[in-house]
């Protein structure tokens, strides 16, 4: 089968080696303000990758700031993604995307207004499975221009992808080769980071380690900054090592309204309001205006939605305290 999808985010591995060679490996203070990180690192030509999964560990603060600053990106991976890519869509200049999952908040439903971006034919989609996109990141992370996989074969998902069939020289079996994916920018929300960019993620890692290795620029937003001794005293805590990272931004509750494992649950009420608003352009524009454009910063957004009191409730829910229930 010949795949007819557009090949996005791919580069020659030797060209990427040259790029990675030039990245600084110094222990430098990379802490930045959120607004500066967005204005300095997000460019219109960028392919953006976003960490987390579904309603979990989304770099919301960063993405809200991207919208506030009306920074646009050229394309994006819709991979295990919900609220995150919804936010990227709002800026609406993407013409092509890699997509394994998107425009749905899993069990909660789908934001109608954003689905229209696709149904109007305004966005060209290259199809993948979650595994395929995870493996595309992994190929790049391994320093390879492709990885063989056993998914997608024989389906329209293969046909509308940009993969190529190959034969294993040992078994003679057919495999699908997926091309490495090198995002220009990745944004990953973590529990702890130090000033150099060493970062610790608790709970499921999704594809974030490979995304950090695959991406040209990596922005870490962290619930809190910790001393480097935190990592030196337990180097197994280092989920993402400093030399991959370009900027570190401290944003307490920076994942809200998504869940931060072991810290606070997602705010299901917020997401219901979001989906409700997304029923029409008008209500949606109003919702985004109130929750993003008119909030002077992320703290104001949290305040608008219940503030630290709401976070406390979500924290109790996350930790299963006080007989609180979802």
């Amino acid at each position: 089968m010949d795949a007819i999808g557009e090949l996005l985010g791919y580069e020659d591995p030797d060209k990427m080696r040259e790029f990675f060679r030039k990245k600084s490996k110094k222990l430098e203070n990379k802490i930045m303000k959120l607004s500066d990180a967005v204005s300095e690192f997000v460019a219109e030509s960028d392919y953006m990758a976003i960490g987390g999964f579904g309603l979990v560990r989304i770099p919301t603060a960063f993405l809200h700031e991207v919208i506030k600053q009306q920074r646009k990106v050229a394309t994006c991976a819709f991979f295990t993604s919900n609220y995150d890519t919804d936010l990227v869509l709002i800026n609406g200049i993407m013409k092509s995307v890699d997509m394994s999952y998107g425009i749905a908040l899993e069990a909660l439903g789908s934001p109608k207004v954003l689905r229209k971006y696709f149904e109007n034919g305004g966005i060209k989609v290259t199809e993948w499975s979650n595994g395929a996109l995870a493996w595309r990141y992994k190929a790049a992370a391994m320093g390879l221009s492709f990885l063989p996989i056993r998914s997608m074969l024989g389906t329209d998902t293969e046909k509308y992808s940009a993969a190529e069939e190959i034969i294993c020289p040992f078994s003679g079996k057919k495999y699908l080769a997926v091309p490495a994916l090198y995002p220009d920018i990745a944004v990953i929300h973590v529990h702890e980071a130090d000033m150099y960019g060493n970062a610790h993620i608790k709970g499921v890692l999704v594809a974030d380690v490979d995304i950090a290795k695959a991406s040209k620029k990596v922005i870490i937003t962290a619930e809190r900054i910790v001393d480097t001794e935190y990592f030196r005293n337990n180097p197994q805590n280092t989920t993402i090592p400093f030399y991959l990272v370009d900027a570190v931004v401290e944003v307490p509750y920076g994942g809200y309204p998504a869940e931060m494992p072991y810290e606070y649950l997602f705010d299901i009420d917020y997401f219901k309001r979001f989906l409700q608003a997304a029923e029409s352009e008008e209500t949606f524009d109003k919702f985004i205006k109130e929750n993003i454009y008119e909030c002077k910063d992320f703290n104001e957004f949290i305040s608008l939605n219940g503030g630290v009191e709401r976070i406390k409730e979500l924290r109790n829910l996350e930790l299963g305290l006080k007989g609180s229930e979802l």
Binding site: G54, S129, G154, L205, P261, L265, L326
Partner: protein, 260 residues
């Protein structure tokens, strides 16, 4: 009469829960699949190994997850890992069952969760494959859960997101998919179906209480293989319902929904 003591959703969950041998591994998402494995774990397969593609392995699910990576999927888990790790476990042959759904299903069990209409100019755009294609490619047995209607059960499938038996016998193997895998059972609000071993086509296995074979035929957009004698699906037992309602889904997150 049946509405007196259970609803369609409860029946579907119970029918699914009975499939698993003890000690099998099952990849699940949110909703019915998750309720089914939780029920199965409590009643039939205490050693069932539950995995979520976001990386939660063998959690002691306290209640229904809403997101495939949320806290319930890692509650008291035996490991938290990554998407590729879960997918590679599957690719290695370690996932016995996966649970999927789709907007359209054809007679070979191929699933569409991508678009209605043409790919580049869709009438409706769905979320896409997610992990469905990966699990259906490499898990040994795929279980499909779906509302039953002739619009969904159609051979005019707009897009094969996820492989069933593709074009029939041997076509999975020819495409390069791992040997011995494929769709196993389909559970709807009307019936349970399976696949004929030779033809790899969908066959009726049992109809739910109160449903006739004809009801199923009318709601299926292609020809089902139908044996002369079709059993009735075992209705939920008292034990199943008690545990489902009291322990698995006390807030009626899943069983409170309509099956269609």
């Amino acid at each position: 009469m049946k509405e007196k003591y259970y609803n369609e959703m409860e029946l579907m969950i119970c029918a699914a829960a009975r499939i698993f041998e003890d000690g099998v591994s099952v990849s699940v998402g949110t909703g019915v699949p998750c309720a089914a494995v939780m029920l199965s774990q409590k009643l039939y397969a205490p050693n069932i190994l539950i995995l979520f593609e976001a990386g939660g392995i063998a959690p002691l699910l306290p209640s229904m997850p809403i997101s495939v990576g949320d806290k319930n999927t890692m509650y008291k888990a035996l490991q938290t890992t990554s998407v590729s790790d879960a997918m590679e476990m599957n690719q290695r042959g370690l996932v016995d069952y996966c649970f999927l759904g789709g907007a359209q299903i054809d007679m070979y069990g191929n699933l569409n969760s991508t678009v209605i209409g043409s790919h580049d100019n869709p009438k409706v755009r769905f979320p896409g494959s997610g992990g469905a294609n990966d699990f259906a490619s490499s898990a040994w047995r795929t279980i499909i859960v779906s509302p039953h209607s002739s619009r969904r059960f159609t051979n005019n499938i707009d897009f094969i997101t996820t492989p069933g038996y593709l074009n029939g016998p041997n076509s999975r193997e020819k495409a390069g998919l791992p040997q011995g895998t494929g769709p196993y059972k389909i559970i709807t609000n009307l019936a349970v179906m399976n696949f004929d071993n030779d033809e790899k086509r969908m066959a009726l296995e049992s109809v739910h209480p109160g449903v006739s074979v004809d009801d199923v035929v009318k709601n299926t957009g292609f020809e089902l293989l139908i044996d002369e004698h079709i059993e009735q699906t075992e209705p939920p037992s008292e034990d199943e319902l008690r545990i489902l309602r009291n322990e698995v889904d006390p807030y009626r997150v899943v069983i409170g929904k309509k099956a269609q």
